[in-house]
Amino acid sequence: MNTQDAVNLNGATVDRDHALHLLRSMIRIRRLEEKCAELYSATKIRGFLHLYDGEEAVAVGILEALTRDDAVVATYREHGHALIRGVSAGAILAEMYGKQEGCSRGRGGSMHLFDNKTRFYGGNAIVGGGLPIAVGLALADKMQHKQRVTCCFFGEGAVAEGEFHESLNLAALWQLPVLFVCENNLYAMGTALKFEQAVQDITRKAASYDVSSAAVDGMDVLAVETAAKKAAQTVRTQGKPFFLECRTYRFRAHSMYDPELYRPKSEVEEWKKSCPIATFARKMKTEGCIGNVDIETIERDVAREINEAVAFAEACTWEPIEDMTRFVHSERRTP
């Protein structure tokens, strides 16, 4: 099958290499998460495990808009963000195993992935807890005259927290370069949006703080990427916050403990028809941009990556118990 170098979609030109890159990124997240679920069932990894299946287009599309200098603050459902930000699948899995070669040295686990090399500031398991931190990172950038963006991911459940409102107010008041990304998957744990928000159009809340906002189809990676690039550009050049709502859906339960009694299976099946990976691959194939061989190649490469990551995590070592209190405080006084 012959493939084209570029296709035109909704007025935007998509380069074949870039299309493959986006597809590969989403498949990397999906396959890593499937492996996590498997390892969880095999009791290799424990604790709370929140999977991201269905939401891949959000992490991939948004992170395309950031540079290496920008900062990322994420939530407890952050494996995909960490992976796409550049943390290796091996370091992520080793962390979930609790090994000292994990990206947080086995002290964080699934919900607390951190990486200073990629300015990945977690991994925060308190809903809304990362929002003020993102505001502070942006404040530090502004005070040091660094033209960087701090990107903060959170779910629509966080919008009910006081910290959401305090953070948007501060960011707008002080004109701070924060890209607020709301991953609206319609359920705050098991409570549907309509049962927890008096005003369900979340962008209106941002508008009430005079923060520019947009909503985008979070199941469409190209739409997310386009919106994110525009939003990040606004933040970067104008030095002020932007609020982007990505309307998405998670195909799995809130966590591995969740019996998912709050939503009908038919609803999940309906949303699965909009799977960001399947729809994007189908679109690209229809346009003649990629072929089945490309997808097979990606799947083979990703399978190898994940297998190597599991082997790495298995081979990693346990932190000596004598070092348990290491990093409660810093080892040297002068920062």
């Binding site: 925060n124 931190i133 942006a138 501060l170």
Partner: protein
């Protein structure tokens, strides 16, 4: 601190705190101050008066009344390379920011496996005695001392009020400074060139041989006053100022108890589950066989702090209570 007495200047505790902040702002451009009313108003306890004019609104930042938001922003700014001093009006309001302090500041370094330091200093007023009633008079520093990952210090003297801040700012980890609001008007002398002090060690503020008084902050001055009264009665009390509640410098008070064989803890906090319980337990664990009498505690009455002056005074530890308790302890087992 210089021992040259000609160099001594009269100063209040409030001014000493301010001079500490001023020096930090001058010495390190990464340092900035933010909090409610710290700028245009001059600080609700007038601590930060004049700083806005001297350093401008970028570095003296008035915040909205949103403790969780601006404390969290301070944590983020510390992660981003700044050295924020965040002022919370009183410890009572810090409860609105407790999530950021406890769930973020205290654990970021640990959860990240040593990758991310949070070099933030959070200052707040604490304590009762000003008829401000239950929601403005708490002494919750002992609560914060429960949390690994943060340091909790409380300057009782002019020298510490001036000198602890810079040392705290040099610490790569979060430090909470509790300033007892009843001390702000206290006057004393301080060398013009007084500089930073350590924040790790307790201090023997008055040597003695008959009993050890372990205390900190405003209760230090009540304890010293009681010790003076007791000295006239022939009882020499050794008074220890803890200065730091986390980590606790237990060596200093255990050594003292070994010498005096008796100990009393004076604390404006509540008794149940308070820092006094921790100190008492450490004495039992460490030097039980050196004790001639059970460890005693003089804490606040276990009620919310009342407004009425006579009730509030009766609630807080007072000098005559310290004197009476020590007389009983020394007399009963002399």
């Amino acid at each position: 601190m210089s021992s040259d007495e000609t160099n001594l200047q009269k100063i209040t505790y409030r001014e000493a705190v301010r001079e500490g902040i001023r020096e930090a702002l001058q010495k390190d451009e990464r340092v900035f101050l933010m909090g409610e009313d710290v700028g245009r108003y001059g600080g609700c306890f007038a601590v930060t008066k004049g700083l806005l004019e001297a350093f401008g609104p970028e570095r003296i930042r008035d915040t909205p009344l949103s403790e969780s938001g601006f404390v969290g922003a301070g944590i983020g700014a510390a992660l981003g390379g700044m050295r924020p001093i965040v002022e919370i009006m009183t410890v009572n309001f810090s409860l609105l920011a407790a999530d950021q302090i406890i769930n973020n500041a205290a654990v970021y370094l640990y959860m990240s496996g040593g990758q991310f330091n949070v070099p933030i200093v959070i200052r707040m007023a604490t304590g009762g005695g000003r008829q401000l009633a239950a929601q403005h008079s708490r002494s919750l520093e002992g609560w914060y001392a429960h949390i690994p990952g943060i340091k909790v210090i409380s300057p009782a003297t002019i020298e510490d009020a001036r000198g602890m801040l810079w040392t705290a700012l040099q610490d790569p980890d979060p430090v909470l400074i509790f300033e007892n609001s009843s001390l702000y008007n206290m006057e004393g002398t301080l060398a013009a060139d007084a500089g930073p002090v350590d924040i790790d060690k307790a201090r023997v503020r008055r040597p003695g041989k008959d009993i050890t008084l372990i205390t900190y902050s405003a209760s230090l001055h009540k304890s010293l006053a009681a010790a003076e009264i007791l000295a006239k009665q022939g009882v020499e009390a050794e008074v220890i100022d803890l200065r730091s509640l986390r980590p606790l410098d237990e060596k200093t008070f255990l050594d003292s108890v070994v010498k005096t064989h008796r100990a009393i803890i004076v604390d404006e906090g509540w008794r149940s589950g308070g820092i006094s319980a921790e100190i008492s337990a450490r004495i039992m664990e460490g030097v039980f066989y050196d004790l001639d009498a059970p460890v005693e505690r003089l804490c606040s009455v276990e009620s919310p702090v009342p407004y009425a002056r006579h009730l509030e005074e009766a609630m807080l530890p007072q000098v005559d209570q310290i004197v009476n308790l020590i007389q009983k302890m020394v007399g009963a087992h002399g």
